[in-house]
């Protein structure tokens, strides 16, 4: 593999990783606060793809993007309100099952509404323009994804560290009960988490599907799981960790495909997960937790 080809693959990997990172943030934030693997997140990401298809068909892509963002955010918050809020006092297993149920429902609903056939994803002409930089050629979306990801993460980290709602989020993720006693409006904090997570998933979905051209009701499952793995590898609950994890998974996957092991590329993600869980269960940036009796 020549250096140029290698760099080309790196670029593709970084771009894929950027999209993964954006989705992984949604997982890591929800897990940090609710201790819940939001299995429905992958489906929300997939439905954002459908929103984009219909929004673009009706309003053009410039208006379509904000419409998609808003619709996805609404969907995310509705899912939280209907499926997770009633189970707040229930055992954790029940909430996880509810999340699986939601993901099942959303998948079946999209199959019913749009059939299981792949729907072509709208082309955004500006994003698809091919650029050449120092011998590397790729569409604009490939270059933009990592940059956009980094910018969004900086904004997010700023929100978490320097605003009131961010402080509330950190408090809730440290200790759910105590922060409630301290007067933090738990439901508002959780909704905000879902708003941020879903918005980032929508951005991730636009970047991801622009490269892949089509959406099916099942195209959210595997990316969703991979992004959760990315969040675990980075250290669940940590936003920078999710980003690093997303890039690691994206680059590894692209490299596996480049080396000709495309059938193993999905499995490799999970191998990485199991290895990580064995040697450093808290992930790269995770904090150590102590079990209390």
């Amino acid at each position: 593999m020549s250096l140029n080809v290698f760099l080309q693959h790196c670029l593709t990997g970084i771009s894929l990783g950027g999209a993964y990172a954006l989705i992984a943030i949604g997982y890591t934030m929800v897990y940090g606060i609710l201790r819940l693997i939001n299995f429905a997140h992958g489906e929300i990401f997939m439905i954002a793809g459908y929103f984009m298809i219909f929004a673009t068909a009706n309003f053009g892509w410039a208006v379509g993007i904000p419409v998609t963002l808003i619709a996805t955010v609404v969907l995310g918050v509705v899912v939280e309100r209907l499926a997770y809020k009633p189970l707040r006092e229930a055992p954790r297993m029940s909430i996880m099952i509810s999340a699986i149920g939601v993901s099942y429902l959303l998948q079946n609903l999209t199959t019913y509404l749009f059939t299981a056939l792949p729907k072509p994803y709208p082309e955004i002409p500006i994003l698809k323009q091919i650029y050449n930089i120092g011998g590397l050629s790729a569409s604009l979306v490939t270059f933009i994804t990592p940059i956009l990801t980094i910018i969004l993460v900086f904004i997010l980290v700023y929100i978490i560290n320097h605003t009131k709602i961010g402080m509330a989020m950190r408090a809730v993720s440290k200790d759910f009960e105590t922060s409630r006693l301290m007067g933090i409006k738990i439901n508002k904090v959780i909704s905000t988490t879902f708003v941020i997570g879903s918005a980032l998933a929508a951005v991730g979905s636009i970047l991801y599907f622009t490269d892949r051209m089509s959406v099916t009701p099942f195209s959210g499952t595997l990316p969703g799981l991979k992004c959760f793995v990315a969040a675990v590898i980075g250290g669940i609950g940590s936003v920078p960790g999710a980003v690093v994890g997303g890039f690691i998974i994206g680059i590894c996957e692209t490299m596996m495909i480049a080396l000709g092991y495309s059938t193993f590329s999905d499995a490799f993600t999970f191998v990485l997960l199991i290895i990580m869980l064995l040697f450093r269960p808290t992930g790269i940036f995770g904090e150590k937790t102590i079990d209390k009796v």
């Binding site: 897990y31 201790r35 819940l36 693997i37 499926a83 009633p86 189970l87 229930a90 954790r92 297993m93 029940s94 996880m96 099952i97 509810s98 699986i100 149920g101 939601v102 099942y104 429902l105 079946n108 609903l109 199959t111 019913y112 509404l113 059939t115 499952t221 799981l225 959760f228 793995v229 675990v232 059938t263 193993f264 999905d266 499995a267 993600t269 999970f270 191998v271 997960l273 199991i274 869980l277 064995l278 269960p281 009796v293």
Partner: protein, 362 residues
């Protein structure tokens, strides 16, 4: 209720069931659909009980059932496809000489399938059972995807036939065999649950730390539960292979695990009879009772919109969400079926019509 009455009732119930099954089997041609549903339900019941053993009784949230089923199904199929028809199954890539003549009688091949799944469980159980709830779920889910990827990979072509899948798997001779195999599997698991091991499992479910303090070896018992559950998932996979007659890696997607988890949840986590009951209810409603949602509906010459392919699954998933959100205990909760419970239910029905709202004990 006296013990003798209970035994008489149970024998009568089994006799009635047997009579119904024999009747169906004798009129195979007229009741093809019913038989298919019962067979599929029985197979799902085995896998659901095996999953319940982990999730409901031991409190280990594992999502690897499809992976173990795949291992069982493939091991069984490779050993059980008649040697004479193997050349036509592996027509594309040829067959690996190691397995070319490895043919076992069908019952042995099924057990081999289960043992292979158990072996894998033992190997991966040692490291991953140390993980806590959600991490365990995601690690087992990952394992099942790894299994699927390996099965489908071109490198395994001469053994698993890669993406072509395996065909010409010997089918079940009749309905009664399916039920019998399923009943034996479930009976063994019930015996296990009622043994001292079962009590230890329940103790671990209730409180790991307390159980450990009482002298129950956590890792040892978790591993036992994991291996046994995987063994029966493997057998269930072999049964599914016999039922379907042809399998490929897409049969064992994550969706299969979810389907089984939903059966366990609807039946009640920690109830064997609940899982069995739910397996039949869910399969029947999915395959038959809710079918009409998928067909166009015409009332008085006006065709009702919404009724088209896929609505059935939407309705089914909404029902499921209702169970998850409002009837978290499922049909049976952690209770088992008893005749007293059934008669108690009959006595309660009149009260329901009187509008007396009683807190139910079941």
């Amino acid at each position: 209720m006296k013990k003798t009455t209970r035994i008489i009732l149970s024998i009568a119930a089994i006799a009635v069931l047997l009579a119904v099954l024999l009747f169906l089997q004798a009129n195979e041609r007229d009741y093809g659909m019913v038989i298919t549903i019962i067979e599929k339900s029985a197979i799902y019941a085995v896998v659901a009980v095996s999953m319940n053993l982990l999730n409901g009784f031991t409190g280990l949230f594992s999502l690897g059932q499809a992976g173990f089923m795949a291992i069982g199904a493939y091991t069984f199929s490779i050993l059980a496809i008649p040697a004479s028809s193997r050349a036509s199954v592996y027509y594309a890539t040829g067959i690996n000489p190691i397995i070319e003549h490895a043919e076992l009688p069908i019952p042995l091949a099924m057990i081999a399938g289960g043992l292979m799944a158990a072996l894998f469980a033992a190997v991966i159980g040692f490291p991953i059972l140390r993980l806590k709830s959600d991490y365990l779920a995601i690690a087992t889910l990952g394992f099942s995807e790894i299994v699927r990827a390996i099965i489908a990979s071109p490198q395994m072509n001469t053994i698993t036939n890669g993406s072509f899948g395996l065909k010409k798997i010997p089918e079940f001779p009749n309905l009664l065999t399916v039920i019998l195999v399923a009943a034996i599997c479930i009976a063994i698991m019930v015996l296990l649950i009622n043994s001292s091991y079962g009590r230890a499992f329940k103790a671990i479910r209730e409180d790991e730390i307390a159980a450990e303090a009482m002298g129950i070896g956590l890792l040892h018992h978790k591993q036992t539960a994991f291996i046994i559950s995987s063994f029966f998932a493997g057998i269930g996979g072999a049964m599914l292979a016999r039922f379907m007659r042809s399998i490929d890696s897409n049969t064992f997607k994550i969706a299969l695990t979810y389907d089984i988890l939903l059966i366990v949840v609807i039946g009640g986590m920690g109830s064997v009879t609940g899982s069995v009951l739910a397996a039949f209810l869910v399969t029947a409603s999915k395959e038959q009772w809710l079918r009409f949602f998928d067909e166009p509906l015409v009332i008085g010459g006006v065709s009702v919109p919404f009724f088209k392919t896929g609505l059935r699954m939407v309705v089914f998933s909404v029902l499921l969400m209702v169970v998850v959100l409002f009837f978290r205990r499922g049909i049976m909760g952690q209770n088992e079926f008893t005749w007293e419970g059934l008669f108690g239910l009959f006595k309660k029905i009149p009260n329901l019509f009187k509008g007396k709202k009683k807190k139910e004990a079941i």
